[in-house]
């Protein structure tokens, strides 16, 4: 919904909340349901209201638990039946400068005394986090502290160990240390977002005195949007690729008309510097595993010439797919999504031309289309959009761009074979299919939470839940990693089965779409059966739960040779396979 995309009109959102909510709920889109507990140290009512809108817009339907006014600590430490029964999927601790309860340093304090003050405040919070972790075993999002709105020592407040600004900075640093050392713990950076908003407005004490809000009411949508980005990232709803226009998006001018010498990017002019910095910003996304692609109305050779501009930053080989032709951009976007095995909703389309943006919004629903009209706004509008919010960063993210490049080489190799099986053999594939290992747990969880298409049950796990599965004997757990002559695809498949007597119930079966049609799913099945046989399990029971996105695996168990046991009106199906006399189905991948 346009009203909820950055840059948005905050006051309009507050004023029309009910109307927007109604429209979102009525739009019929599929959403995952999540329970979010908000433990507040100040008023949270409008924060929850705005957060709900942004989450609905991001494909998440939240239910909320809201602690009584400022009861965050009591709820966490001493329990609350309502909260216990709520079974939160996420806990958000909404504290602020107003919740510092050990006092601030006095001018008479020694360094040692101030250090003790900091320690005791951090201990207060750590005790609460530990309690929440052990009790609820779910991700925790914790605000850091905004900067104080007055400075007793003036500028020295920042540097002096007794300064309030210094004190808060130190507390924040200690919060980050805890976040560094603990999984499933995320900092909501209100220090940054309040600075970006303007601390003076943000901390307008009117709203504290009147309503016990720790921030001004008009800032609440910005706050809630920033928070919703963490939540949607945790639940696997980040974007994965950028699709970029060229003329007047990556450089000033039209390369087809003006020639390479006529376009502007680089250090010579102010406009050129704008495009240079934008290219630098885009290129940095490759480190995060974000794929860069081009959709441009241009002759291919002109596009390449422009990307080879001597003063530019991006080069043709920085891009995974370059579509420079005269087809509709909407068509090129669909093709790019399909060639990358991504859904259109994983793409962010960047084009300075409002007409192209409208076409893509209309014909490729789900694609994020930020408003980019002037080069000096490009970075801000994309960055603050939060499309690529990093909550976990795995080794796989770091090498993803390279993996996709290898995939394109595979596709080219395939064209030289007429027999598909021979092509598969030529890939010289070998796979590790093994029980979960601690080292890979983050990647396994990440893959589990973002796989939508090749996913039989679409069951999601937090890292804590995955750790629990990894430690429990009743589960058969397998991850699959596929390597071939072009390179390492990394961990691409996850399967979890729960043993109940003689039956193995498949709770999770998923695979990354980038290894479709490689017989990796057969290799996983072979190993599942082998593990089951080892445990004396006689039957494997498969479950398929349809979603808006997983139709491609509707018949997977059938192709595996399972028998249909039951089905219901919603399309849920249950399948069965006897382990006795099973013959391996994978003939092209060497395993373990």
């Amino acid at each position: 919904m346009r009203e909820l995309e950055y840059p948005f009109d905050s006051e309009l959102i507050l004023q029309n909340r009910r109307k927007l909510r109604k429209a979102l709920i009525a739009d019929g889109s599929a959403r995952i349901k999540k329970n979010i507990a908000v433990l507040g140290g100040s008023t949270t009512h409008d924060i929850i209201a705005a957060l709900e809108l942004f989450l609905l817009n991001q494909g998440i339907e939240p239910s909320f638990y809201e602690s009584e006014y400022a009861q965050y600590y009591q709820d966490a430490m001493f329990g609350n039946p309502e909260l216990d029964e709520f079974h939160p999927d996420i806990i958000f601790v909404h504290t602020s400068l107003r919740n510092i309860n050990v006092g601030f340093p006095a001018m008479s304090d020694s360094r040692e005394q101030v250090k003790e003050l900091i320690d005791s405040q951090v201990k207060y919070f750590e005790g609460m986090w530990e309690k929440l972790r052990s009790k609820f075993n779910c991700p925790i999002i914790q605000n850091n502290f905004e900067m104080p709105f007055y400075r007793l020592l003036g500028n020295k407040d920042a540097q002096d160990y007794r300064g309030r600004t210094n004190f808060v900075t130190e507390l924040n640093r200690r919060f980050y240390e805890y976040a560094d050392e603990h999984n499933d713990f995320y900092i909501h950076d209100i220090n940054y977002i309040s600075a970006a908003y303007g601390l003076e407005q943000w901390s307008d004490p009117f709203y504290w005195y009147m309503y016990k809000y720790c921030l001004c009411l008009p800032a609440i949508p910005e706050f809630a949007f920033n928070l919703s980005n963490i939540i949607k990232s945790i639940f696997g709803k980040n974007k994965k690729a950028l699709v970029l226009d060229l003329d007047n998006t990556l450089w000033s001018g039209v390369v087809g008309d003006d020639g390479v010498d006529g376009i502007d990017v680089g250090q010579e002019t102010s406009v050129g510097q704008g495009f240079y910095e934008f290219q630098t910003y885009l290129k940095a996304h490759k480190q995060l595993g974000i794929l860069l692609n081009v959709a441009s109305k241009n002759d291919h050779e002109n596009a390449i010439a422009g990307l080879n501009h001597p003063s530019g930053v991006l080069r043709p080989d920085d891009f995974t797919i370059i579509k420079a032709n005269w087809d509709a951009k909407s068509e090129n976007l669909k093709k790019i999504a399909s060639e990358l095995s991504l859904l259109p909703e994983s793409l962010v389309f960047v084009d300075d031309n409002p007409a192209e943006r409208e076409i893509v919004r209309a014909y490729v629903p789900g694609v994020a289309v930020p408003e980019v009209n002037k080069v000096e706004e490009y970075i801000r509008n994309i960055d603050r959009g939060g499309y690529f919010e990093v909550t976990t960063f795995s080794a796989d993210d770091a090498s993803r761009v390279e993996m996709y490049r290898q995939n394109i080489m595979r596709a080219q190799a395939q064209e030289s074979f007429t027999d598909y099986n021979e092509y598969l053999l030529s890939l010289e594939m070998h796979a590790d299919i093994k029980d979960f290992e601690p080292l890979y747990l983050a990647r396994i969880t990440q893959l589990t939470n973002k796989s939508n298409q090749f996913n039989l049950t679409t069951k999601r796990f937090t890292e804590s839940e995955m750790e629990a599965v990894a430690a429990d004997d009743k589960y058969v757990r397998l991850y699959g990693r596929l390597v071939d002559k072009f390179g390492d695809n990394g961990i691409v498949s996850v399967v979890i089965g729960r043993q109940e007597d003689n039956i193995l119930h498949m709770e999770l079966w998923l695979m990354s779409c980038r290894v479709l049609k490689r017989d990796m799913e057969q290799a996983m099945l072979d190993e599942v059966v082998r593990q089951a046989q080892k445990r004396g399990i006689r039957e494997i029971r498969g479950y398929y739960y349809p979603t808006a996105k997983n139709k491609m695996v509707e018949k997977l168990y059938e192709t595996f040779g399972f028998t249909l046991l039951s089905s219901d009106d919603a399309g849920n199906t249950v399948w069965s396979l006897m382990t006795e006399g099973y013959e391996d189905q994978n003939k092209v991948i060497k395993v373990n």
């Binding site: 507050l14 004023q15 009910r18 009411l217």
Partner: protein, 82 residues
């Protein structure tokens, strides 16, 4: 100074948006009791929306002591910048 008729017309629109109810018609005597969803939480949002519409701010004391929409309109009339 804007006239009272215009103030009430614009207030009506703000009330209709905030409470998402197009049947609302406010008059000087309207109080929170007359509008179903007008509780202390919605009051916060309403005040912010009114401030935005008229380009003005209420003082802290006023927010809790205004007795009806008529008093709200008096303050708006004295302070509106748009």
């Amino acid at each position: 100074m804007i006239d009272k008729g215009e103030i009430f017309e614009r207030l009506n629109e703000v009330f209709q948006d905030v409470f998402d109810d197009e049947s609302i018609k406010v008059n000087p005597k309207t109080t929170a009791k007359d509008i179903d969803d007008w509780d202390s939480l919605e009051h916060i949002r309403l005040i912010a929306a009114v401030e935005r519409e008229f380009g003005m701010r209420f003082k802290m004391g006023e927010v809790s002591t205004m007795k009806n929409v008529g008093e709200m309109a008096d303050i708006i009339a004295a302070r509106a910048t748009k």
